[in-house]
């Protein structure tokens, strides 16, 4: 199968991450800021899958747990088997969970902001300063 270099995958996630960051920095609407954070988190999740796809191991979990005790399972060495480590995708799963958690609390705050402050302007929330 044609191979995709990890480098290009990581660059893609970095670019997506950067676009998300632009959104956080430039938008004043808190809803857009939350959307942008979702983009950043998604980019990080993608990066994990990309990273995981570069590391193959027959039994990745055993290797990882025994890594400290068995230096023979060398880090940086490639095994013949081509099944990638599941760890990257497990991390993606966790990032997904986290994104859902963040967004639910975030949107609850947006609702309160709308009813209490009367606007979604992030800049309006600057009562406390100094």
């Amino acid at each position: 199968m044609a191979s995709i270099s990890v480098e290009s995958g990581l660059i893609l996630s970095a670019v997506l991450f950067g676009l998300g960051l632009i959104g956080v920095l430039a938008r004043r609407n808190i809803l857009f800021i939350l959307l942008s954070i979702e983009i950043m988190l998604n980019a990080a999740g993608l990066a994990f899958v990309v990273a995981g796809s570069a590391w193959q191991d027959e039994s990745p979990t055993v290797a990882a747990s025994a890594a400290a005790t068995e230096p023979t399972t060398s880090v940086g060495g490639y095994k013949e088997s081509t099944v990638p480590q599941a760890d990257g995708q497990v991390m993606f799963f966790f990032v997904l969970t986290m994104a859902a958690a963040e967004v639910s609390v975030g949107l609850a705050l947006v609702l309160r902001m709308h009813s209490q402050a009367g606007s979604l302007d992030a800049d309006a929330l600057s009562r406390m300063r100094g």
Binding site: L16, L19, L25, N29, L35, A51, S104, V105, L109
Partner: protein
């Protein structure tokens, strides 16, 4: 495969660019869903059919629906678009774009030609992912459940209709 990756990547980047620049929240959401679908394709290409499906179901499905729901509740319409036009002056973009540009340049400089290797393209089967999740990562799953519980309780508390003192009955019970 490589072509699919690059096409999807281009779509993801372009649609994400649209997300952060749109004035209308619903438009932005739609572009974000496009971007997420593109990323799902990339995930599939990289050997994660299960995570690709999750990306579609959870991200593009559940999370985005949550956003749509909030937009509906808040009844954001043309008023908000006009507001956005006022907020989003060209000058606003200079600082963030410059900063992020430098950051991205740094990251690309580091990444270019130095990454670890080549994605195999082989797939991690849903079964293998599940075995990993409920095998060595089972504590992580438990922690994730605690995380969701915290989000649930937090969102419940924050989202409850605010009862100010005046609104409150003399019996001290919330009128929920």
């Amino acid at each position: 495969m490589e072509t699919v990756f690059y096409i999807s990547a281009a779509i993801a980047v372009l649609s994400t660019l649209m997300v952060v620049t749109r004035r209308n929240a619903v438009h932005a959401l739609l572009y974000l869903i496009v971007s997420l679908l593109a990323v799902a394709v990339i995930l599939f290409v990289l050997g994660g059919p299960m995570v690709a499906v999750l990306e579609v179901i959870v991200y593009a499905g559940a999370i985005m629906v949550l956003f749509v729901f909030v937009i509906i509740v808040l009844n954001i319409g043309h008023e908000a678009v006009r507001q956005e036009r006022q907020w989003l002056r060209p000058g606003n973009w200079i600082g963030p774009a410059l900063l992020t540009g430098v950051l991205a340049a740094e990251l690309v400089y580091i990444l270019a030609g130095r990454a670890a290797g080549v994605a195999s393209g082989e797939q991690v089967s849903p079964a293998a992912l599940g075995a990993s999740l409920f095998g060595p990562y089972v504590l992580g799953v438990e922690m994730a459940s605690l995380l969701l519980l915290a989000a649930l309780v937090g969102a419940y508390h924050l989202g409850r209709r605010t009862t100010t003192r005046q609104e409150q009955g003399s019996d001290g019970i919330d009128k929920r």
